[in-house]
Amino acid sequence: MLIFEQSKAGRKATAQAPLTRADVSAIPAQFRRKRSAALPEVSEMQAVRHYTRLSRKNFSIDTQFYPLGSCTMKYNPRACNSLASLPGLLARHPEAPESHSQGFMACLYELQEMLREVTGMEAVSLSPAAGAQGEFAGVAMIKAYHDARGDTARCEILAPDAAHGTNPATAVMCGYKVREIPTGPDGDVDLEALKAVVGPQTAGIMLTNPSTLGVFDRKIEAIARTVHEAGGLLYYDGANLNAILGKVRPGKMGFDVIHMNLHKTFSTPHGGGGPGAGPVGVSERLVPYLPVPMVAKEGDQFTWITEKDRPESIGRLTAFAGNAGVLIRAYIYARMLGREGMPRVAEYSTLNANYMLKQLQAMGFQAAYPQRRATHEFIITLKKQAKELGVNTMDFAKRLLDYGFHAPTTYFPLLVPECLLIEPTETEDKATLDDFIDAMRSILEEATEDPELVKGAPHTMPVKRLDDVKAARELDLAWSPVAE
């Protein structure tokens, strides 16, 4: 029941209501409301019960295993949050002078340095407010680089057909035309197809490595050489950085720019509207274009790098230093891991994924790329089950909810029919992985013996199977009050 439906005219939470009416005389009359806002009128206890009830329906990493491929739904240690909430960090005014902000700036500087080191790039700017903005900053820098050289005929960005949708979207936002590169049968980029389309019109290529297919592109050096020889630059989408953290450095693979999704690799809060952080790192030739501000260290003092120091910067993407509280959480996480811990992120995310893949294969699920070792995530295709049992990927996904697991990503990437993209992450233990594997075994048995049970799932959730087609065709997003 919506809270609006519990509303009754004149009822209010008296103890929470303001004692005096706010003075709004400073707001010009034409901007003031003519009528009261249509807010629900409920008691304090109704409001508490309503939202507590809703919160108990939450499906989250704090309550359940959440192997949502491509999203890295891993556990965020509570320490990151509690240390970032220290009053010295939390209460610092963004306009505070450098002399009053040395501790805060030291944290940002060290985070810049750690990200620079682990990615093998020349310099890092922390300011983009999320991954999407980091991507925008990255491609904007590629454009700024070509423009500064008078190389303005470069109008195309290349992206593999397995790319995250944000890659082509970013290229278009920056004024580029997108050209899709097909994937070969082994899951790597089709190098011959790339060679056929790369040329003087190529501004750059956007790659995720490991890709969304859950494999590491072994031909990355040849790809880098091909694009660089044509005068284009290489963009690294950091979405899957946890798979290679401390093991391989994108800078060494030949990438010129990278954005990092701190919420995936460095354990800051996941989405839900943010705030996020999407730092960017660059190779030497792009350093002048990095977004400002950044932090520099002179002697033992930390200072802001601004437009004055970097006249060719693509500019500011956020107010002040970006989403500083999120950056501090990432800094604490990186310090907790340390140099020894970072490679363990890659090792355990890869080990967990490969363990699950082998177990699922052994019970008859088909890997999309059986000849390849998985990285931190892997794809199985239920094509066979859909054909022989009439039970498709969506049915399996919905039935998993009944077993207490969040479903993996379904029907993405689009290249693989009837697929599940499964990412256990590095923070889950073997017992949890085994529980999930057991659930998949049970559902496979159910699909064989009683397919209707699976096709009708979920059976235990607050809502049953939703009609997603009707929901998309007849959008109904806002509750509207009964006309008065």
């Binding site: 689009l414 029919p417 087609v469």
Partner: protein
Amino acid sequence: MSNVPNDLKYATSHEWVRDEEDGTVVIGITEHAQELLGDLVFVELPEVGDTVDAGNECAVVESVKAASDVYSPVSGEVIAVNEALADAPETVNQDAFGDGWLFQVKLSDPAQLEDLLDAEAYTEIVESEEH
């Protein structure tokens, strides 16, 4: 195996082309394509008067699973679009080769029709994808 009519031409990107034999062709997506996409919820079509180029995207079909570009198999000028799809995108699912057509093009280079696949060649592509 889905239906592949013999009187149509096909593109590897799963569009069909019907030669109207008056210098124009009607274009849609194949039954196999609509099966892969699932229930369509939105179709974005080019505008009448637009110029389309063979191999370039010119329309979008969106299902609950995915949004997918439609590539024009031929070059020319768009002379008609299937406006009924705005309110009934499911027509593409129900009748991909008939009422679910997308747009009609006046050919600028009729020889391009020779480059398209016949039903047999397209069937082979679909079958190879199913393995």
